[in-house]
Amino acid sequence: MSPVLSVKGLAKRYGEREALRDIEFDVDPGELVAVVGPNGAGKTTLLSILAGVQPASAGTVDGPGAGAAIGWAPQQPAVYAKLSVAENLRLFARLEGVVDPQAAVERMLEQTGLRERADERVERLSGGNRQRVNVALGLLADPPALALDEPTSALDSPQRERVWEFVGALARAGTAVLFSTHHLGEVSRNATRAIVLADGELLFDGAPSELIAANGGGGERDFEAAFVAFLKERGHS
């Protein structure tokens, strides 16, 4: 199976500061990859480079899901509050040059379960539903890969659960999903793979269970402890 995304030698510098250095990984279709790390590790920078929001200082991103082809949902919902759910979806479908915008809108309303709220203005939606619209906008062009920057950061537990059900369904349908998160429990529950970043460096790339096993843990609830132990061992406490 050829990867949807292939990242090689990726680096990002802001003046003297290195936000990312020599990042390399591949993502296959249907993978749910969690990008985790302490604050300032470079998670958002990595996802925004993959999404084409900012350029890399060095390195390449290749594959059918690279660049503008990747679906993207930023941490803060990037939606027009004064427009309705359907109007937001229709506008971005048109801007993205989708052949049949209305069909894309219908599909996304169906997938996100927002059909009944289609005509409601986004400013009146709950945080969870706004995030669903945000993710839906990233999926309008049926991208082979999707980058989600902390998709559940401002949501309560039931809302987070609804988002993961939706994202899980996408992955099962073959979409490669990369997401960053601070809710480490979500990693062991939802991700098939975890990438650990610290100070712009990729420290770990593998299944969450491997990180737990390598750091003396066992079971879902120990991912956070294993992650903290792993960082401490690598000198990133």
């Binding site: 991103v61 290749d62 690279a66 082809a69 990747i70 939606v79 506008l91």
Partner: protein, 464 residues
């Protein structure tokens, strides 16, 4: 771009309060400025106590000037409120019904007629420092005008009396001798008498008298001219150096429309750009290809390989600029049409109006998108746009000579760096044919558009 334009229009339609404020506020400001410019300071309301007896006159030789004429001159310079007594006048001032009072004393005629002392008036006023300054300034001007008018009447009476002395004839006063000889007639009469006299002491005495009479007649004749010169020593002749004269009311229209154009355009453009960043949609719209991926690496499954971003940053800025400029242009044209119903405007110059407004709107739009891109959030952008716009309008209206040379140069330099003064001059040239010509101002506006457009692009170098 059309989908974005449609989206922005829909958002505007749903933001009725914002649109209402955007329309009403600049119009209100513009009307206030227009009114302030087009209406000079009104005549002060002044109580006048005339204590002189009715019909009292000042005698100038054989002529008489009515003292009441002075009061009439004063009445024409102020909004007069006639009161009978000084105490009543004081009460009117204290109650705020009048700004000041002028008391014309009973003995004014006697003092003027004496030729030794000046007539004097008493001026009473009240109020705070600003009111005192205003009253003093306005009343001084009114009294100077009244004095000038009254002195002209006295001068005319004196000139008539001198003429009568020179020409002779009837004084027109009951009981006065008739057919008097004039001073100018004495020398020829004397010369005839002298010619018939033998050489004698009498003849020499007559010749001395004749010399005096000739001298007196010549100098009395000159005194009429001297009186005229003293009455109004300098005549003022006005010449406009450049352009054609712009009526104050049409200039006020130009100022009002320019202010509205600026407010709507700058606020809308600044808010529009800042809103895209605040709603986090800027990055979604303008994101491009990641990494250093070469075109050869692009997969056939890419959504739109030839157009990596949904809209370029330049396209996004142009869309906001055009939307703001179009909205402001419509408002400005509506204002001109509305005001045209009350103020006479030259509609044959409509094409030039349109060009001036379009260039002005685009330049203001460029300033707006620069503010929006640099401010990064709607509230900051709106505040900055507001704080910048109002002083710019006032600075551009500071007349040269009203402030020190250095301060005027500074205000002129600031005005040059922003579009308001150039837009005002372009519209003034278009509406009133004023100078400098419209092409100079349009070129200035085009330059500022490029400058602020570049600043806006710089402000959008980061999408997050």
């Amino acid at each position: 771009m059309r989908w974005l334009l449609g989206k922005d229009l829909l958002i505007l339609r749903r933001s009725r309060l914002l649109v209402g404020v955007l329309v009403v506020y600049p119009i209100a400001i513009a009307l206030l400025i227009g009114l302030a410019i087009s209406r000079g300071p009104g005549k002060p309301r002044v109580a006048i106590v005339d204590e002189t007896p009715p019909g009292q006159t000042i005698a100038v030789g054989s002529e008489h000037v009515q003292v009441s004429r002075y009061a009439e001159e004063l009445f024409s310079q102020v909004q007069p409120v006639r009161v009978l007594t000084r105490s009543r006048a004081l009460a009117e001032i204290k109650s705020g019904k009048v700004l000041a009072a002028v008391v014309i004393p009973r003995d004014i005629a006697a003092r003027i007629a004496s030729g030794v002392t000046q007539g004097s008036l008493e001026v009473l006023y009240n109020g705070n420092a600003l009111e005192q300054s205003l009253v003093q300034s306005q009343l001084s001007s009114a009294l100077a005008q009244a004095n000038l008018g009254f002195s002209e009447q006295i001068q005319r009476a004196a000139a008539q009396a001198i003429g009568l002395l020179l020409r002779g004839g009837n004084l027109g006063v009951l009981g006065a001798p008739t057919n008097l000889i004039g001073l100018s007639q004495i020398p020829p009469e004397l010369r005839g008498i002298i010619a018939r006299q033998p050489s004698s002491p009498d003849r020499r005495q007559l010749e001395r008298m004749n010399t005096f009479a000739e001298f007196a007649a010549q100098n009395l004749g000159l005194s009429k001219n001297v009186l005229s010169t003293i009455g109004q020593p300098i005549q003022v002749k006005s010449t406009l150096v450049q352009g054609r004269r712009t009526p104050l009311n049409t200039f006020a229209v130009v100022v009002a429309v320019s202010v509205s154009l600026m407010f709507v355009c700058v606020l809308l453009a600044a808010g529009g750009v800042a809103l895209e960043r605040e709603e986090h949609t800027l990055a979604r719209l303008a994101r491009g290809v990641a990494g250093n991926r070469s075109p050869a690496d692009k997969s056939p499954t890419d959504r739109n390989p030839t157009h990596p971003a949904l809209i370029s940053r330049e396209g996004l800025l142009a869309e906001k600029l055009l939307l703001a400029a179009a909205c402001a242009l419509v408002l400005a044209l509506a204002m001109l049409a509305g005001i045209g119903a009350f103020v006479s405007l030259d509609w044959s110059r409509f094409g030039e109006w349109l060009i001036a407004l379009a260039f002005g709107a685009v330049a203001f739009g460029a300033l707006g998108i620069a503010i929006g891109a640099l401010a990064r959030e709607v509230r900051a952008a709106s505040l900055l746009a507001f704080l910048l716009s109002l002083p710019l309008a006032f600075l551009a209206l500071v007349p040269s000579g009203s402030v020190s040379h250095g301060l005027y140069d500074a205000t002129d330099a600031i005005s040059f760096a922003f579009p308001f003064k150039a837009a005002l001059q372009a519209l003034d040239a278009a509406v009133n044919g004023a100078s400098p010509g419209i092409s100079v101002s349009l070129a200035h506006l085009a330059g500022l558009t490029v400058l602020f457009g570049a600043l806006a692009r710089l402000g959008l170098r980061r999408l997050d």
